[in-house]
């Protein structure tokens, strides 16, 4: 049901309909039969446009997909390699995949055995778009040296700084701050940290680092030693500051974009995770709003959650994700719960839902809410009735919720939800003095996944009946797959991609560069050749029986 509603109308439909003559209803009315027939075509066209736009990114060096396959190992099997047909009775042959295992060399040139999996779809498309099957550590881990242990701002004056062994950039982590701005005189002052000490030049210097949210920031200067850290306009005093130094003093592990292990929870990106009820995770599409551009510039914005979607693991179970990373090339979200790495497709979070399809044409009493229509499981939402006509007497009103599994609830006089048994249930008859009813608020709790409909029905004294419908989506993303983490990466607390496609894990101060492995093979049964996504030193194939 959710899919039918969400993808009901594509923006490409109108483009198709524009080929009809201007006077035709097929062109001008989006609910016309012709346009309803065009929706599936419009949807497929829209998909094509999206693919085309995605492919055109490969024309530019900075946006080209770094994870494209550039090399393929292949293994020519002897002609005598037995091939077993799975469907001997049918015309189109289908074969039973052989079992494959292989050995690969890691970055330290040690050989590791690995199982190579047969593709679900034994085709070039399945080969190139295969999901990752494993994770490989691709470099030596680095442990940051602690220059200043996590210290509250109130205790910062007595802080003792360790000295890095060589002059190096420092990592400054701010945590627990809730406010990053103060008013001094008439001017807003954004939060910043001022470092004082001896720089790599051997002279006393200062560096000011702007902080507008809790995160980890790298200094621009290389510091030989620190003598003082001053913090301005960051509150409360319990906010902690941690300073760490890299052990490597050439910044070779960083790419140009300085993307590195960032702090998780309050990062100013489009996607973020939040925990609910201690056992589930929700993906939040964040939106920041501000009263004016100055506030936005100050980083002092109010935080609005507009779209929430629940993340579930590959077995459709609740899972507690501690960290996510977004891969812009494959448009995939990777997340870890400490033992597994899960990956989810990013669903289009801007579906068009046409509530007009269900409402009375020209309805004047509208449902009003400030919270959008995408919420998490078990959340409640506040609805109001926005009155359209004051010139008519309202005689009755009814709030109803249609849940995805078919049960209906109505709002009683005490603002409680009651199961709806009789068609006459739930009507609240208002007299002449009904102004209070307009302020009636409805707080339904959405405890089922899927699309629920909130319905507001009103009857005027003139027997005029109106109905407004507001769909609310409680959606969940089921992981496409899961990879078990190697022992070094278990219980990692942070996760991020850099622009080289390296997936970085951060675990208690130790940083690991990793890459996702695709241990799959494509079988050419007629020529008897196996193709691989990864490089191997040795492969072993056992024919199917």
């Amino acid at each position: 049901m959710a899919n039918r509603i969400v993808k009901s109308r594509s923006w490409a439909t109108q483009r198709l309909a524009n080929y009809y003559p201007p006077w035709s209803r097929a062109r001008t009315d989006e609910f016309s039969v012709a346009q309803q027939l065009l929706h599936p075509i419009g949807n497929s066209l829209e998909e094509m446009f999206t693919q085309l736009a995605k492919a055109s990114r490969n024309n530019f060096i900075e946006s080209s997909d770094i994870n494209q396959v550039y090399i393929s190992d292949y293994f020519i099997l002897p002609r005598a390699f037995p091939v077993v047909r799975d469907n001997p009775d049918e015309q189109t042959p289908r074969f039973r995949a052989p079992t494959c295992s292989a050995k690969y060399e890691n970055f330290e040139e040690e050989e590791y055995p690995v199982d190579v999996l047969a593709l679900d779809l034994n085709s070039a498309e399945g080969f190139f778009t295969a999901d990752p099957t494993g994770i490989e550590i691709t470099g030596l881990s680095e442990t940051r040296l602690v220059i200043l242990n996590a210290t509250a701002l109130a205790d910062l004056q007595d802080a003792v700084f360790n000295t890095p062994p060589v002059a190096t950039n420092l990592w400054i982590t701010v945590a627990g701050a809730t406010d990053f701005r103060s008013i001094i005189g008439t001017q807003f002052v954004r939060g910043y940290i001022k470092l004082k000490g001896i720089s790599s030049k051997g002279i006393e210097e200062e560096e000011i680092i702007d902080v507008s949210w809790n995160r980890t920031i790298r200094t621009k200067l290389r510091w030989s030693s620190l003598t003082e850290v001053e913090v301005v306009s960051i509150y409360p005093d319990t906010t902690t500051i941690t300073i760490e130094a890299d052990t490597f003093f050439h910044a070779r592990h960083l790419d140009e974009m300085n993307l590195f292990i960032d702090d998780v929870a309050e990062r100013q990106v489009y996607y973020s995770v939040q925990q609910t009820d201690d056992d589930r995770t929700e993906l939040v599409h964040e939106c920041y709003s501000a009263l004016n551009l100055g506030d936005l510039e100050d980083g002092h914005t109010t935080f609005d959650v507009v779209k929430t979607i629940e993340l579930r693991d590959h077995l459709e179970q609740d899972v507690l994700i501690t960290n996510i990373a977004y891969d812009p090339w494959s448009e995939t979200i990777y997340g870890t719960d400490g033992t597994h790495l899960f990956f989810w497709d990013i669903l289009p979070l801007n579906p068009s839902i046409r509530s007009e399809l269900f409402s009375t044409p020209g309805v004047s009493n509208r449902i009003y809410t400030e919270e959008g229509r995408f919420i998490g499981l078990g959340d409640d939402m506040e609805f109001l009735c926005r009155r359209g006509r004051d010139d008519k007497h309202l005689s009755a009103i009814r709030w109803t919720v249609y849940t995805p599994n078919g049960t209906k609830y109505y709002l009683d006089l005490f603002d409680d939800m009651q199961p709806w048994t009789d068609p006459k249930d739930g009507w609240i008859y208002t007299g002449d003095s009904t102004q209070d009813l307009w302020r009636l608020k409805f707080h339904p709790i959405f405890s089922q996944r899927g699309v629920s409909f909130v319905v507001l029905e009103t009857v005027y004294a003139e027997q005029l009946y109106e109905k407004d419908v507001y769909p609310v989506v409680v959606d969940s993303l089921v992981a496409r797959g899961a990879i078990e983490l190697p022992t070094d990466l278990v219980d990692s607390t942070r996760l991020s991609f850099d622009s080289n496609g390296t997936l970085w894990f951060y675990n208690a101060g130790t940083i690991y560069p990793t890459r996702l492995r695709h241990d799959v093979f494509l079988m050419d049964y007629s020529r008897k050749v196996a193709y691989f996504r990864e490089r191997y030193t040795e492969v072993t194939l056992v024919p199917a029986t």
Partner: protein, 333 residues
């Protein structure tokens, strides 16, 4: 690993297990196309990330017929790298003043020269020279070179490259001053140049006159070919005479007694410490480089005590033999 891949091993264990070493083939993708646009092809087995970095490097470090261009072209085409090797700063007596009068370091083909004072290519005082061409030279390895620089009273150096045993020959030719050409300066009582810490005596300004002049005057003076201003440096006494001017080299500020005329163009050199000396994985020597040339021929003193080049050394004759074989040059003509 590459040797193993060259030979295609194949054997059968029992009847139903097929084991061997896979071969590989390259699958061109969008990076190969983008590489074609800048004239780069993928190296054998090169993955997307280093290939992308090489494509991006084409415009950052352009190849060309100059020394820098050759180094850039060679290291990129071979998939090697250019990296930071040493960071140098002068030793400071006070917060702003250095111990040396005008400390400059110059990397030449076979040696590194530390100048206590350097005011121009023909006007300098050498602190010390550190040779690094031969294996027996004191600065042959980068780590030793850094230690030797730190022995000087005027300079301190930090090794940025991890490997202390990198031959110092890989350092790129460099001099720790920046040359500025044709910086536009307006006519004003005080002029602030874009850069500070000028090299004494390097400032020359064209088409700017210390006093207001009519067009006729200006034409006359330029026809006398005296349209360059030469400056008194760091004069602290107040200016008193019409047409007098001075420059503060530390701050890069020019001061005139009276309003000058015209819009001038300034050429000068300035120090920009700390300076990073770069190195690459290729060492390029030019036969025209004097200090490299010295290693190829023995020195002979004539009866007046002047040094001349004599017979080729063993290394020099090696090069000559190599050139004989590869280049169509008829020596001695």
């Amino acid at each position: 690993m590459s040797l193993k891949r060259l030979s295609f091993v194949f054997f059968v264990e029992g009847n139903d297990t097929y084991t061997g070493v896979p071969n590989h083939r390259l699958l061109p993708n969008s990076y190969d196309y983008l590489g074609q646009l800048v004239g780069l092809s993928r190296l054998p087995n090169e993955s997307n990330v280093p290939f992308r970095d090489r494509i991006l490097d084409v415009m950052v470090n352009p190849a060309g017929p100059t020394y820098t261009g050759l180094v850039n072209g060679i290291y990129r085409e071979l998939g090697l790298s250019k990296f930071d090797a040493i960071r140098i700063s002068p030793v400071y007596a006070t917060e702003t003043e250095t111990v040396g009068r005008s400390p400059v370091i110059e990397v030449k083909a076979t040696k590194l020269i530390l100048y206590e004072a350097w005011w121009g290519p023909n006007d300098y005082v050498v602190d010390r020279e550190i040779k690094f061409y031969n294996r027996t030279d004191p600065g042959y390895f980068l780590g030793d070179l850094v230690n030797l620089i730190n022995e000087s009273l005027y300079f301190s150096a930090i090794r940025l490259y991890d490997d202390a045993f990198l031959p110092s020959q890989y350092l790129l030719r460099d001099r720790t001053v920046v040359q500025v050409k044709d910086e536009v300066v307006p006519a004003s009582f005080q002029i602030r140049l874009k850069n500070t810490n000028l090299v004494n005596g390097s400032l020359r300004i064209r088409d700017l006159y210390p006093t207001y002049q009519t067009t006729a005057n200006r034409n006359m003076s330029s026809s006398n070919s005296s349209n360059y201003l030469s400056f008194m440096f760091n004069v602290t006494t107040p200016l008193t005479v019409e047409g007098q001017y001075t420059v503060d080299t530390d701050e890069g500020i020019l001061t005139f007694f009276s309003l000058p005329s015209g819009q001038g163009l300034a050429d000068y050199m300035y120090f920009d410490y700390p300076w990073t000396l770069k190195a690459s994985d290729v060492a390029v020597f030019g036969l025209g480089e004097e200090d490299f040339f010295e290693n190829l021929f023995e020195k002979v003193e004539d009866r007046f005590g002047e040094e001349h080049l004599g017979l080729p050394t063993i290394e020099g004759s090696d090069y000559i033999q190599e050139l004989y074989r590869n280049v169509r040059i008829i020596w001695g003509r």
